[in-house]
Symmetry: C3
Subunit: 135 residues, 3 copies
Amino acid sequence: MIGHIQLETAGSGLYEITAQLDAVVRGSGVTEGLCTVMIQHTSASLTIQENADPTARRDLEAWMERHVPEGDPHFTHTLEGPDDMPSHIRAALTSTTLSIPIENGRLALGTWQGVYLWEHRRRGSRRRCVIHIGS
Amino acid sequence: MIGHIQLETAGSGLYEITAQLDAVVRGSGVTEGLCTVMIQHTSASLTIQENADPTARRDLEAWMERHVPEGDPHFTHTLEGPDDMPSHIRAALTSTTLSIPIENGRLALGTWQGVYLWEHRRRGSRRRCVIHIGS
Amino acid sequence: MIGHIQLETAGSGLYEITAQLDAVVRGSGVTEGLCTVMIQHTSASLTIQENADPTARRDLEAWMERHVPEGDPHFTHTLEGPDDMPSHIRAALTSTTLSIPIENGRLALGTWQGVYLWEHRRRGSRRRCVIHIGS
């Protein structure tokens, strides 16, 4: 089964999509299987991160901003703005696609795991993900 | 089919889990398919790395320790200890989930590839992985 | 279904393999499903990146060369040459395996997405990928 989710991001940062994914899984009726989500963009990405203390996610974002900074004088791909090239690199360092087992009709995530869409562009955008549910 | 493996880690480092995964694959009876393994934690991760010379794995660990160091004064998420925040970042930079084709009843890994659980916490922990085998 | 692709790389850099993958998908006759590609090496990797402006890929390669440089005096795994250890680290920071949904008989990539094999060794090599197509 193929499903889709869309998210309108309001700016850079981590947006949890666990609930939307779980809704697609429930809608599929699959109780034991595999859920794969792929983001259809190269300036946003996916990651599974701690869903408890938000300071963990902020420190993760800040590390990325320090190590893949905007305005790096080495960048030549600057036509789409100073936040475009860092976005592509940050996407390459994280994930474009994630496969999560389904157990008892739910994503088999650990207690503290959430699935996040990571918007890397400053202004945000409409982001689309394609989801495959297999058994 | 869904399976599980557990590993008690003794401290930070790379622990090979190829044999445990291959045992789950053999137990499934699937000869051609896909094996997906997901670690249910955000302070440990997965990676496929060279399984021959151990110096390659030590250099990989050391690179990570230099670039995502403990005690980075930028970190604010420090309540769970100085090794907690680096663990989350190191996990985001590597993999939480891996999908490996099955061919002739075995993981279709290259000659020098092994699957590793990467413990990022200093003290180690009991780590759980969920495995999905599909055809 | 299991398929294979081989690529003879001419040196380090990003090589697009989207067309080869799409050919395997078409050959499978699967119209809705999941395509997983795994590279059977630890000194080359996979990534989904922008397939339009080549300066984006060059900046990505250059970032990696600056942050995981050849000749880093910390490296001890140097027997196979100065470009070997950086290759393993660059592979760990990107992807060894990618799963892409299939929709209407094609890889459900976004408009600007291409699938790339990233050769990290200087001299290039014969690189093999295993592909699994599931429904």
